[in-house]
Symmetry: C2
Subunit: 372 residues, 2 copies
């Protein structure tokens, strides 16, 4: 396998190093903005050098972001090259288009590193769905949010201090909204659901609530009631998909996921629940799954599953919520308890997120074990 | 794929049902002691009917136990048939012999269902070791022991009552020693270590301590110190392998594994820690992984890794232990604390298990987070 590597940042360098230890993978050319020289690969600023190199059969894209990644990947597909990417935004947003284009040109796309870093979650889904029907997937998919929430819970930090520490450690960006507003989890959830259920979710139907407005007091009230808060993406075959802060009892696995780790679960009709735990990001875990995808391509594994049609997500199920709104009124529904400034009430997922759109300074969290 | 199915008990029936939903797998003949008739498979009492059927390319062995499973499997290998088995005892005890025989006859052996029931743990090891070097594996591999220990911890039962409930639920046999004395975990650990590290462990070197002697009071003392007790198998590339009760803090994943579930972890040089959680046994989870192995054979995947030579396991590392011995004297080593009738002391793994052999009514548990 001769690889054209797009991007030589944290993950790109990791891929370059790890492929050196693999007998049948060679990084032949690297697209990199900086001037660099590498002992055994040609570095270029111009993507055309990779596109036109007919000896390159596989393009590994680890630039991230939608553009120019989209243009590079589609051009590479049209040139008959296989794609391995760690880019969850690209794969979530252009899922059906990229799959159709790849099928048309007879090439493969894999993106295991896009979700769960080192865990190999999408490959686990591929294996599970081969012989089972999946009913649900859910999990903690963003290490930055888990680090922030875990630090608030275990160390008693407020949100600003927890975020600052995450930034110091390099877990969070200077502009953290992709993580804390749930966008990263949203991309990962959509991509996972598409593969788990063989569909193409209507993105506008999948609502997202992030953790930006969570306070020290919220965490205190959760703690008093035996809960910890996690940012969780959930999708169900029967028409649910959402990203939202979610309260778990300490006796549940989710309640004990530390630092920047991920825990992602599937529920299969035959397999029952299975969960996968590991480092959700970082140079080597992510690069490792890029290399795993290359190894899968060498074994003849293309994409995880065929792409079904666009699928609507009604999100009709009713849940119990913690809702704190600096400015009222609350969403309609019976209020059963008062936790400090927060209220416990019942509403459907769709209703709750519709209300939240008009109340951007509110904080909500679902409490799944309170659903009757 | 035409399958000869050996055994039609809990798992066998599950395999028969699940293969019906797979396009390219057919159970052609079933070896079964009872008189039964099946609409689409010939039932026989005589293994020769399967052995001599040249249309059968794959033998699925779910009888369990060493004999006659060993004779059937070796005969089938010599007849050029691939093997899928859920039999951990067979695979742990005859590991190097069966692998050599299969290689000699150009057939494949897979045994994913032998460890971790539905989890697919051995396949996860196969995938991980493809591009990474594994340093350690460890985990809760026996659902029966986890059920007993969890019931004692959460419900305050004594050992006899917890065992009785496990027997009522069908988790434990009437004669429970394979589970509670750690033999089942021992088989699973040896097989996992062989695959993880590409070795063949010297079985006599791998010591086992079970949970038969644990008491209500032991659990109470663990609880007072913030620990829960689990039966854990651990193996390290650098010469450790043992099965023993192990104390975990409640904030660790292992401390929160409920009922009859399993949690098995690997530690890779590149991947870091990854953990896999799911139902450790049961008809469908186990049958599902038999079917997964059949699917892997169809995709050309034979055994997980080559078998290295016999490897000694010195078990030299020093640990901190809880030791309670109705009749002394204790193993040599400094005693730092007294927990009821139990003492906290330091000793190497090899020393501790050597002592335990002469004190079959004692109970020991390792406390990994107290190791300096």
């Amino acid at each position: 396998m001769k690889i054209g590597l797009l991007g030589f940042g944290t993950v790109g360098e990791g891929v370059y190093e790890l492929t050196k230890q693999q007998e049948n993978m060679t990084v032949a050319r690297v697209l990199c903005r900086k001037d660099r020289s590498l002992p055994d690969a040609a570095v270029t600023h111009d993507f055309a050098d990779i596109l036109q190199d007919e000896t390159i059969d596989t393009v590994v894209e680890v630039i991230g972001g939608l553009h120019p990644a989209y243009e590079y990947v589609t051009d590479a597909i049209r040139a008959g090259k296989n794609i391995v990417t760690a880019n969850k935004a690209l794969m979530a947003v252009y899922y059906d288009e990229l799959l159709a284009l790849a099928a048309q040109h007879g090439v493969s796309i894999r993106c295991t590193a896009a979700v769960g870093g080192g865990i190999g979650w999408l490959s686990a889904l591929e294996r599970a769905r081969r012989v089972d029907t999946l009913r649900e997937i859910h999990g903690i998919m963003n290490g930055t949010c888990n680090y922030i929430l875990d630090s608030m819970t275990r160390l008693g930090l407020d949100y600003a201090e927890a975020l600052r520490r995450a930034q110091e450690l390099g877990y969070a960006e200077a502009e953290p909204s992709t993580d804390v507003d749930g966008i990263d989890t949203w991309h990962k959830l959509i991509l996972s659901a598409n593969i788990a259920f063989g569909v193409s979710l209507e993105k506008a139907d999948v609502p997202v609530a992030g953790i930006r407005n969570i306070t020290y007091d919220d965490i205190g009230w959760f703690n008093r009631h035996g809960y910890v808060c996690k940012l969780v993406g959930t999708a169900r075959r029967d028409g649910e998909a959402h990203v939202q802060p979610t309260l778990y009892a300490l006796s549940e696995l989710e309640g004990n996921i530390p630092a920047n780790f991920n825990l992602i679960s599937l529920d299969g009709e035959v397999a029952g629940r299975q969960s996968f735990y590991g480092q959700g990001a970082g140079r080597y875990p992510t690069a490792l799954n890029v290399v795993q995808d290359c190894a899968d391509l060498l074994e003849g594994k293309g994409f995880y599953c065929p792409c079904g049609g666009k699928t609507a997500v009604p999100n009709r199920s009713r849940m119990v919520w913690y809702v704190r709104a600096p400015r009222g009124p609350l969403p309609e529904g019976p209020v059963s308890e008062q936790w400090g400034e927060g209220k416990i009430l019942e509403a459907s997922v769709a209703e709750m997120h519709r209300w939240l759109k008009d109340h951007p300074d509110a904080f909500i969290a679902a409490i799944p074990d309170r659903v009757k």
